[in-house]
């Protein structure tokens, strides 16, 4: 009789823990959200006009400006400075191209369009 009571008590104390299925905890790697910024909008530059003034045509140039209703004033560069300006612009353009290409390459590498 005592034995039966002891067994019954044991079952009561352990409850339903016998054969209990434990919850498996597993982690699923969630990929980081894509930034997916659109590429920067391309520039649309306005056209400008260069005027060459020499000691010979200066009067004529200013006269033409006045006739066209434009203030007779010009912002000047020497021929050497013009070359420097051209070179500087070429370098700015190259830097822009390089940065844009880098951005494209990063996008292609880290945010490929097709799902693998």
């Amino acid at each position: 009789m005592n034995k039966i009571i002891i067994i019954a008590l044991m079952i009561l104390m352990t409850g339903c823990s016998f054969g209990e299925k434990r919850i498996k905890i597993f982690s699923v790697e969630e990929p980081r959200q894509k930034l997916d910024y659109p590429m920067p909008t391309a520039l649309q530059l306005e056209e400008l006009k260069w005027i060459i003034i020499t000691s010979e045509n200066a009067q004529e140039v200013f006269k033409k400006l006045e006739e066209a209703g434009i203030d007779p004033v010009l912002f000047g560069l020497t021929d050497k400075d013009y070359q420097v300006l051209a070179r500087n612009f070429a370098q700015i353009r190259q830097k822009l191209q390089e940065t844009n290409n880098l951005l494209e390459e990063y996008k292609k590498y880290y945010e490929p369009k097709e799902k693998e």
Binding site: M39, P40, T41, A42, L43, Q44, L45, E47, L48, K49, W50, I51, I52, T54, E56, N57, T78, D79, K80, Y82, Q83, A86, R87, F89, A90, Q91, I92, R93, Q94, L96, Q97, E98, N100, N101, L102, E105, K108, Y109
Partner: protein, 158 residues
């Protein structure tokens, strides 16, 4: 009496032996199950490792290709700048003196060059090529300020 005791001892030994063998077999089966589970895990790990290695291989190839592309691009930059310098100084050319003697012609050339240079900046910032730019294969059709950028179809004759 003695035979009875011997019989009992033998019986007990046999029971112990059989139960020992049974326990041993059960232990072997349990070990086998663990080994099988380990084997499964190892196989999964190998498959995953192979996948990682394959991805790494793909990544290395992509990085190499990207580096190559950027190096080619930087190479064209140097050449474009040299070409620009050449246009100003080719055959002891002095743009200042030329502008004095042929003012209108140089003004026209400089304005055309300005338009071309502006177009180069637009393209560098990501503007789409026009069909004419893409089709250009002759020297007379290209944008001389940045042929490598503006006219991908143009191959300079060496």
């Amino acid at each position: 009496m003695i035979f009875g005791k011997i019989k009992m001892i033998i019986t007990v030994l046999m029971i112990l032996g059989i139960s020992g063998a049974g326990i041993y077999v059960m232990k072997l089966r349990a070990d086998n199950a663990i080994l099988k589970a380990n084997q499964d895990k190892l196989e999964t790990a190998i498959t995953e490792q192979n996948k990682v290695l394959e991805q790494q291989k793909k990544d290395f190839t992509a990085i190499l290709e990207s580096n190559k592309k950027l190096n080619v691009l930087i190479g064209t930059f140097k050449k474009d700048l040299e070409d620009l310098d050449k246009r100003f100084t080719k055959k002891d050319r002095d743009i200042g003196k030329l502008a004095i003697s042929r003012t209108e012609a140089i003004e026209r050339i400089i304005n055309k060059g300005g338009v071309n240079a502006a177009r180069c900046i637009e393209l560098a910032s990501g503007a789409e090529h026009t069909p004419e730019e893409l089709k250009a294969t002759l020297k007379s059709e290209i944008n001389p300020e940045c042929p490598s950028l503006a006219n991908p179809g143009f191959v300079e004759y060496q």
